[in-house]
């Protein structure tokens, strides 16, 4: 019995992986046609892509750097999804996360390096959580559709951040220096450690301890979802709010909480990018894009934290390898096309269920197949 259980679990896992892998292969084949169209050699392009993302330890480091925010935003979207919430607002929560991190960096600039990074990460998470609390509470208490509110809040966050950077956290205001299009920097001791300082083989790569924080958050998210009563309640509400209510689970509480946790993860993404890479917030005319990437990451990863780790890594490879392809003269759009085709294939899960029928048609063994099943 136990044996059977385990075997079937492995089988399910294989089934889950088989299809995405096929999808990736197909996407690369289709991508090759576009590369040929540009007059380039797809073989060369793909060698550039993979050597560019995995070829050396430094490049691998850069890939991990690209992967880091995707893990967070993927987890954020995925956690919301588990509670039946479609958090399109990860983008805005990320932005608020960065703003909170910078603010905390200024306010607590005198704290020692032993605690400041932690304070900054908490601040970022808090920023995202607050921003997500708005759609959460509105949905929970008033039944307002979270999709529309989060879309609206994305733009609001963008403009607020620009204002704050321009008129509040600007070095010209806080430090009396020249006016800049970006905020004050967070103090040295608040920054995350570069991995290359621990392992010199990472060379020039800016990958930092943020990647570990991301992986740990994935594990924690998995644990919360599948091992705690909170996760149980969140998932129950996600699947069937009526039955959950019946089982003494408060829908309103869990919707709000799930949204807040989702937002905290998104805010954490912002905090990690600030403390690990940029150390400041720029005025921006558009969204950073991590939120939308997060949707793809979460859904390709089937909203499972482990799947999200894998799919974030895949997207990290593509996004980092893209540089080398661009340098080789291949338009960056090709990577976008490949990415979107991967997602399209993943969305078309049921293609898998058409496979037996196609095979049957190909081999012409219709009758036998039916009888056997």
């Amino acid at each position: 019995m136990m044996q059977m259980q385990r075997e079937s679990k492995i089988k399910i896992a294989i089934d889950n992986i088989k299809f995405p892998l096929l999808a990736i292969v197909f996407s690369f084949i289709i991508g090759a046609f576009f590369i040929i169209w540009t007059g380039n050699n797809p073989g060369v392009a793909y060698v550039e892509l993979f050597s560019g993302s995995l070829g050396t330890v430094s490049r691998f480091g850069e890939t991990m750097l690209k992967t880091t925010p995707l893990i967070f935003t993927g987890l954020a979207v995925g956690f919301g999804y588990r509670c039946g919430l479609f958090n399109i607002g990860v983008e805005g929560q990320y932005i608020l996360g960065t703003v909170f991190t910078i603010s905390a960096g200024w306010i607590f600039r005198d704290l020692p390096g032993s605690i400041l990074p932690v304070v900054l990460l908490i601040a970022g998470a808090l920023g995202g959580a607050i921003w997500a609390f708005i759609p959460g509470i509105l949905k929970a208490k008033r039944g307002v559709n979270e999709v529309i509110i989060t879309i609206m809040l994305n733009y609001t966050a963008l403009y607020i951040a620009n204002y704050v950077v321009r008129a509040v956290l600007n070095p010209s205001i806080l430090q009396g220096t020249e006016k800049k299009a970006y905020s004050v920097m967070i103090p040295e001791q608040g920054r995350l450690t570069m991995l290359t300082e621990i392992m010199p083989s990472f060379g020039y790569s800016s990958v930092n301890t943020g990647i570990f924080i991301a992986i740990i958050m994935a594990i924690i998210t998995w644990f919360i979802l599948f091992k705690t009563t909170l996760g149980y309640e969140v998932r129950s509400v996600g699947f069937n709010p009526y039955a959950s209510e019946y089982g003494g689970i408060s829908i309103a509480k869990n919707i709000t909480l799930a949204m807040v946790i989702s937002g905290a993860l998104a805010g954490l993404a912002g905090a990690v990018m600030i403390t690990g890479l940029t150390y400041k917030v720029d005025m921006a005319s558009g969204m950073p894009g991590y939120g939308f990437d997060g949707i793809a990451v979460a859904l390709v990863g089937k909203n499972h934290p482990i799947g999200i780790l894998a799919s974030a890594f895949l997207f990290g490879i593509l996004k980092n390898g893209e540089r080398k392809m661009q340098i080789a003269g291949i338009p960056k759009e090709v990577i976008g096309i490949i990415q979107s085709i991967i997602i399209i294939f993943i969305a078309a899960e049921a293609i898998g269920s058409y496979w037996p029928a196609i095979k049957r048609k190909l081999t012409g063994k219709k009758e036998e197949e039916v009888k056997a099943s």
Binding site: N162, Y204, A284, P288, I327, G329
Partner: protein, 341 residues
């Protein structure tokens, strides 16, 4: 690179006919097996921004034609790409890396330290104080001043418009320089200022232009990248004057682009590339201003009357001569007194 392999074909004959220096430059290098490679990293505006990214790329194209170098580009998707993109080029050990835009400054400082032997150049930023970074900055306020003069004289309604992309200090340099120019020749004219909070939303650019025109503006200047496409479209439809920015934009609407404020990012890029090629690369700030023709105005469509040109040139000479200083910030503008010429 693969893409470049095809390009030299059309580019080469052009280079030989137009610039006799080109073949010389290549023959000077004894081993042409390894041509120099220069990499450019755009800011998030990317190629096709109708602004400094395009202009810088144009400059590199000229370098490619003249000296037979290979140019490569990386477009940044978000601000978080700046550092990794710099690193990518540095890792390839290209001969010179350009970061297009002041937003590169912090990441360039870091990367310049990591790769002390790598040469870098940054556009629109100064004060990095790195031994291996050349800083290319422009006196946008001066160029804007000149088109401000033209606008101030050209307007019949005494209402003039300015559309900025975002309220960066950089864009404010355009704004206050322009306003100062207007004020110098036409103190009665009102300048309506709008910021689009975008460098891409051309529909919004058009809407803003229409609104400014509705409010009486008959000359509108923009410093808003792609948003400007909307201004020029509106000018075409409604028949008022638009003033282009960065490059000569008159080809977009020869009848309605009065003139363009020139910011010769291409020249800046070219100059630094040249210094690398002939081995005279120096770190530190190179200012491109009215004096060295780094900024100015241009009128390829020939819409400016001689009077207007004369007036603008009068101020140009005065600026070159240092007769007065053109304001670049709000404070400087408030303190600005129109020079009596």
């Amino acid at each position: 690179g693969c893409a470049q392999k095809e390009e030299p074909a059309p580019a080469a004959p052009e280079a030989t006919t137009e610039e006799p220096t080109a073949p010389e430059a290549t023959t000077e290098t004894p081993e042409p097996a390894e041509p120099m490679v220069m990499g450019m990293i755009t800011d998030t505006g990317g190629l096709g921004d109708q602004s400094f990214n395009d202009s810088a790329w144009l400059g590199l194209e000229k370098v490619e034609q003249d000296f037979g170098i290979e140019r490569q580009v990386l477009e940044s998707q978000s601000a978080d790409d700046y550092m990794p993109n710099l690193v990518s080029f540095a890792e390839e050990q290209v001969n010179l890396i350009y970061g297009v835009g002041f937003l590169f400054d912090e990441s360039m400082k870091t990367v310049a330290d990591k790769f002390p032997d790598q040469k870098f150049a940054i556009i629109d930023s100064s004060g990095l104080e790195k031994d291996n970074v050349a800083e290319i900055v422009f006196a946008e306020n001066e160029g804007s001043f000149l088109v401000g003069v033209i606008a101030g004289l050209k307007t019949e309604t005494n209402v003039i418009g300015f559309i900025g992309g975002m309220k960066f200090p950089l864009i404010e340099k355009f704004e206050y320089g322009f306003k100062a120019g207007v004020k110098s020749v036409n103190p009665d004219a009102e300048v309506i200022v709008n910021y689009a909070d975008s460098f891409e939303d051309s529909a919004k650019g058009k809407e803003i232009a229409l609104v400014q025109h509705q409010a009486g503006a008959d000359v509108i200047f923009h410093a808003a990248g792609g948003v400007g496409a909307g201004l020029i479209e509106a000018a075409k439809e409604e028949g008022f004057w638009a003033i282009g920015v960065d490059q000569d934009q008159s080809h977009l609407a020869p009848e309605n682009v009065l003139c363009s404020m020139m910011k010769r990012v291409d020249v800046g890029v070219y100059k630094v590339a040249q210094s690398v090629i002939d081995g005279t690369f120096e770190s530190g700030t190179i200012v491109f201003d009215a004096k060295n023709d780094g900024v100015g105005y241009s009128d390829l469509a020939g819409n400016l009357t001689d009077d207007l040109k004369a007036a603008a040139d009068k101020y140009l000479e005065a600026i070159k001569a240092g007769t007065f200083a053109v304001p670049a910030t709000e404070a400087e503008f408030d303190a600005f007194v129109a020079p009596a010429l």
